[in-house]
């Protein structure tokens, strides 16, 4: 079986004197390494320069609001079931009168927590969500944490801020499969 066409047949013939002397090969090796001294460096200076990771990158979670700023999540728990790392937990509550502008459905998540140490960023929660409520942002990573009590992200850090809304780039590479016809990913 051949995987690549770069395979080389190595011969085990006796070496010639030049090869035994080692020096020609040694100097050609030195030439190769010194040529790399002047090549462009591939390093990206990470915190200052960030590389665009592509439209399908799965980064920081976000709990979406709809166009009127109401939370979409209805605390059905499907994301928690889908989660292979069991990182998601939630407590459901019933929407009271006068809270219609806060929550879209009659039931909402009073507590919604993701343990970022457990999360493996597989994106299954995003796929499982019937309300298009949870997304993994493609443009932002979960920041490094220094303390253990910073690890569990509650609603205050997950729910989308109105002045910092997440719009996923609608390009041909991403095949959106809308479950609600009126609320395609592009529409948000």
């Amino acid at each position: 079986m051949q995987l690549t066409n770069r395979a080389k047949q190595v011969s085990n013939k006796e070496m010639t004197l030049a090869e035994k002397m080692y020096l020609p090969a040694f100097f050609s090796g030195l030439g190769i390494t010194i040529s790399h001294l002047f090549k462009k460096k591939v390093t990206i200076q990470y915190p200052e320069v960030k590389k665009y990771l592509g439209p399908v990158y799965r980064g920081h979670h976000v709990l979406k609001r709809d166009e009127q700023g109401r939370e979409r999540c209805t605390a059905c728990g499907l994301c928690a079931v889908a989660c292979p790392a069991e990182a998601i937990s939630m407590v459901a509550a019933e929407r009271k009168k006068g809270e219609e502008n806060l929550y879209r459905e009659e039931k909402y998540a009073a507590v919604y927590e993701i343990n970022m140490l457990r999360c493996i960023f597989c994106g299954l929660c995003e796929e499982a969500c019937p309300k298009q409520a949870v997304y993994l942002r493609h443009d932002r990573m979960v920041p490094v944490f220094m303390e253990r009590d910073e690890v569990v992200y509650g609603k205050e850090r997950l729910v989308e801020k109105m002045d910092d809304r997440y719009v996923r780039a609608n390009n041909s590479e991403v095949k959106a499969t809308p479950t609600e016809p009126s609320l395609t990913r592009a529409a948000t």
Binding site: K8, A18, K41, V42
Partner: protein, 388 residues
Amino acid sequence: MDLVILSAKGIIILVLFVITLLIAAYSTWGERKAAAFLQDRLGPNRAGVWGLMQPLADAGKMFFKEDFIPAQASKWLFILGPCLAMLTALMSSAVIPFGDSIRFMWDKVSYEVPLQGTELNIGVLYIFGVVSLGVYGVMVGGWASNNKFSLLGAIRAASQNISYEIALGLSIIAILMMTGSLSLRSIVNEQASFFEWNVFTQPLGFIIFLTCAFAECNRTPFDLPECETELVGGYHTEYSSMKLGFYLFAEYINMFVSSAFISTLYFGGFHYPFMNEVGSALEKSMGAITGHNIATAIQFILFFGKIFFFIFFFMWVRWTVPRFRYDQLMNLGWKSLIPLSILNIVITGAGLLFNFKYASWLIAIVMIVLAITTTVKAPKREMLTQQS
């Protein structure tokens, strides 16, 4: 009067000592930078501009790590090991001439002090002796750790250093025969004109010496005493904190000293083309004292330029060539380098008899011609791309 010369000497020695330590410290930075640049990376650049504070950060880290001594280790020898390594490394730069001399006036008497730790008439032997002691630090440390990997590393270091010391000494002998002196200063002064640099008169000896210097410094491709893939850390497996720091530091000091030694023996030391013309012009225009001192400073700087090139060469080779296998190392040392250096001595002696300085080239030319003819005659190696 003696006191003035003594204190001037003391100042020179102190300055050289500080420079040695500084260069060793910045070699660690340079090593990482060189490695990074040869591998298309950037290397340390967070601590200070271009990462120039990196050696300080490393030293701080080393100092604050736990200084651990294994329970079954023999405590005093465990401490003695790195001390010996450091001591022998620092001792060897004492006889290297870093420049001509410094002139100064003190109390209306003019003095002239050579820019050298001490002028010994056995300078080469002194360095050779100190280098041969360098292996004790490694051996004592490796044995005292009471660890099999450390012991194996120590034993490898011992046999490697002893084997390569022979070829090292024999390759120097050719130079000693040409110079007729063991003093490093007279070896340097012998190479006053550019085409009499020993690298041009002794190309073969130079290559042998360079190879042995790599082996004596335990640098890649001869870093078997500390090869990670086989021996964890070799002789310094059990070491931590500043004791480990001493071992690593000693390696870089050795590198600096051997670079200085290579430049002194083969690259004219502090000499550069048209040095005498520049020196006399400076003395004419600026006076015997200032002009002379500036000329010495130029020599000093150029000498360090040569040293830095060789330090870089050490690093360059390290990031190019993989490690030798142990039997290859021994074969190279005993079966190639020693016979070649003996042949070199014989040829050089014959050349001296007929007043022909470049006799060493004969071997080099014969070897090159042989290599080329055998390569041309040999059937091409089959390195064909496999096509299915």
